[in-house]
């Protein structure tokens, strides 16, 4: 019954979106596991992983759309929350290696032995426990967003200034995680993972399960986000986006609303990062790079801001294009393509790809 109510909340575009995800959830595992490899319907494990990666980006885009599309907070630092969730997962995966590392140390990961660490830093305690690690996936980005948001929103930092300090935040973390003495693997980050919950991360079946987990998380994140934006809470968010001072003079504590949505969004981004790491097999400081956060904003703008579905769609479409353009001789042009796409969409499709698709559908609907 609750499920029925939740589904009711999804508008028609949401239902199409959820139906698409359901179709992927059924077809991709079948095409990978059951269809013989020589069939043209077969989907290779590499493709499954790639799709899973795009889906984690879609979750990140959804998170960003929640703050930017609905509340007007243009965060240019959401990659930081994604990366923190990723590191928390990466630390769990590192601890699972145990004595199987190159140096064979029973507890310390290889890079620590190499850097002459004698004992496990406090920050790594408990990460051998999956539940603790998952708690950190939520807490690390959540707490950072809470502290950052508390300071920024209470001081009423808005607009470009807020965007700039979010960039500074992710840049500062980039520099910090580069440092070897931080104990997070420095430049190389965390990699060479072996198991997750006792299953080999490289195994085909694990890959498929991770893909499915990501898909489910995306669906759940969408339903949750939709619940938020259709509630009175969401109406206040949109009101803040449209006329912040009006909201304040109506007696709302704007900073509390901003803080709430910012923290929720950061946690979602962190969860996306945690799903990303076991699939791509590495997390390093480059994930904190300011350009990553900017790219995520571009996905949302291209897909269609303030629609949730559009954000996810944008992340997917842009990254399919990116995979195509960054292999081989076209690699050098990717940033130009992305920039060009952004400009084109902003000028020609102000409501993004989703807006254009819906307009097209509406036109065909009226003609027939």
């Amino acid at each position: 019954m609750i499920l029925a109510r939740l589904l009711e909340m999804a508008d028609y575009r949401g239902r199409i979106f959820l139906a698409l995800l359901a179709a992927l959830a059924v077809l991709v595992p079948i095409a990978n596991l059951l269809v013989p490899p020589d069939s043209f319907l077969h989907i290779g494990t590499g493709t499954v992983v790639l799709l899973g990666k795009y889906l984690t980006y879609a979750i990140l885009a959804l998170a960003l759309d929640l703050v930017w599309g609905y509340c007007g907070i243009l965060s240019l630092g959401h990659g930081a929350f994604f990366a923190l969730g990723g590191y928390a997962m990466g630390m769990y995966l590192m601890r699972q290696i145990g004595p199987r590392g190159v140096y064979g140390h029973p507890i310390l990961p290889d890079f620590m032995v190499f850097l002459n660490f004698t004992e496990l830093p406090v920050t790594w305690w408990g990460f051998d426990n999956f539940l603790y690690a998952m708690l950190m996936v939520v807490l690390a980005p959540g707490l950072l967003a809470f502290v950052f948001g508390w300071l920024a929103f209470r001081s009423r930092v808005t607009g470009v200034y807020l965007s700039i300090i979010t960039q500074a935040l992710t840049f500062a973390l980039l520099l910090a995680f580069f440092r070897n003495d931080m104990g997070f693997g420095g430049n190389n980050g965390l990699t060479d993972f072996k198991d997750i919950l006792g299953f080999n991360v490289q195994a085909q079946s694990t890959r498929v399960v991770l893909f499915l987990a990501t898909l489910l998380t995306l669906a759940a994140a969408y339903i949750f986000a939709r619940f938020m934006v259709t509630s009175s809470f969401g109406k206040v968010l949109i009101a803040i986006r449209d006329a912040e001072s009006r909201v304040r003079f109506l007696g709302y504590r704007v900073e509390h609303y901003k803080l709430a949505v910012f923290v929720v969004s950061a946690v979602l981004a962190g969860i996306a990062g945690a799903l990303y790491v076991p699939q791509v097999g590495i997390i390093n400081p480059s994930e904190f790079s300011p350009t990553n956060s900017i790219e995520a904003v571009v996905w949302v703008a291209i897909g269609g801001r303030g629609t949730l579905v559009g954000a996810a769609l944008g992340a997917f479409v842009v990254n399919v294009l990116k995979s195509f353009f960054t292999t081989g001789s076209l690699a050098a042009y990717w940033l130009f393509v992305l920039g060009g796409l952004f400009v084109l969409v902003t000028i020609a499709l102000p409501k993004g790809i989703l807006g254009a698709l819906e307009k097209l559908a509406a036109k065909r609907g009226t003609r027939s």
Partner: protein
């Protein structure tokens, strides 16, 4: 600690300066509950700044800003608290939620719990549509209830904002230049509307349009360079030599 004032709103000796520029100079304004007051004065006289001080947007350098018989020192509260205390404000530039329907604009303004938690899980949605209708009816926008606020004309946005104030049901309404950009007929209607609102609310209206001020039929205060130049009936103020010199005569 506050002093008894027997006034709903009591401003005395209020000074505000921006980087050395004195926007308000020992301004005094006293309003009894149920009053309607028109504030006139040339651009830059400090009318909007006065509203900023009353609503907690700007903190005065010195002076008393007291509410409800002197029981509340407004300088010690922020915008949200002051709104909760019962002071509503219409901005000079019409400010409504353009991507919400008129109904939702009113819904957000209606008195009720305003914390994020009850907004997300709570009871805010259980507000009678009847009340929303009533408010929209009052500002003659009931037929556009389901339209987006962004589709309204400039004048209609002004009305919607006034309707939001009504929904908020404050003790004191501050209305900044409500007829700017309105047609004569709309101006007429607005004056009527404000007089109607004044039946159960205390109202302060800032306006330039002298026809409109006359139609409000209330006591008038003329500000100039941050302090009161003249106060009285519209005829007395309009006849005041200094007022003619700095404001009307130009």
């Amino acid at each position: 600690m506050e002093k008894r004032t027997n006034a709903l709103l009591y401003l005395d000796g209020v000074n505000v300066s921006f980087d050395g520029f004195k926007a308000l100079r020992s301004l005094t304004l006293i309003l009894a509950a149920g009053d309607m007051r028109a504030i006139i004065g040339p651009n830059g006289a400090g009318k909007t700044t006065m509203m900023d001080v009353i609503t907690g947007k700007t903190k005065p350098d010195s002076g008393d800003v007291l509410f409800a018989d002197g029981s509340v020192d407004l300088t010690r509260h922020d915008e949200a608290e002051i709104a909760e205390l019962g002071i509503g404000r219409k901005f000079q530039k019409p400010t409504v939620f353009e991507s919400h329907t008129l109904v939702d604009n009113i819904l957000l303004a209606l008195a009720g719990r305003r914390d994020p938690f009850s907004a997300l899980f709570g009871t805010r949605a259980r507000i009678s549509p009847q009340r929303i209708r009533e408010v929209l009816d009052k500002v003659r926008l009931a037929d556009k209830a389901e339209r987006l606020a962004g589709e309204l004309s400039h004048g209609q946005k002004q009305w919607l904002e006034i309707a939001m104030l009504l929904a908020q049901n404050p003790k004191l309404l501050l209305v900044d230049e409500p007829v700017a950009g309105m047609t004569d007929a709309e101006t007429e209607t607005t004056a009527e509307l404000l007089r109607e609102i004044n039946r159960d609310h205390t109202v302060v209206v800032v306006e330039h349009d002298m026809h409109f001020v006359r139609a409000l039929d209330c006591r008038v205060t003329c500000l100039h360079e941050g302090s009161v130049l003249a106060e009285g009936t519209i005829d007395a103020v309009a006849a005041n030599e200094r007022v003619v010199e700095v404001y009307l005569g130009r």
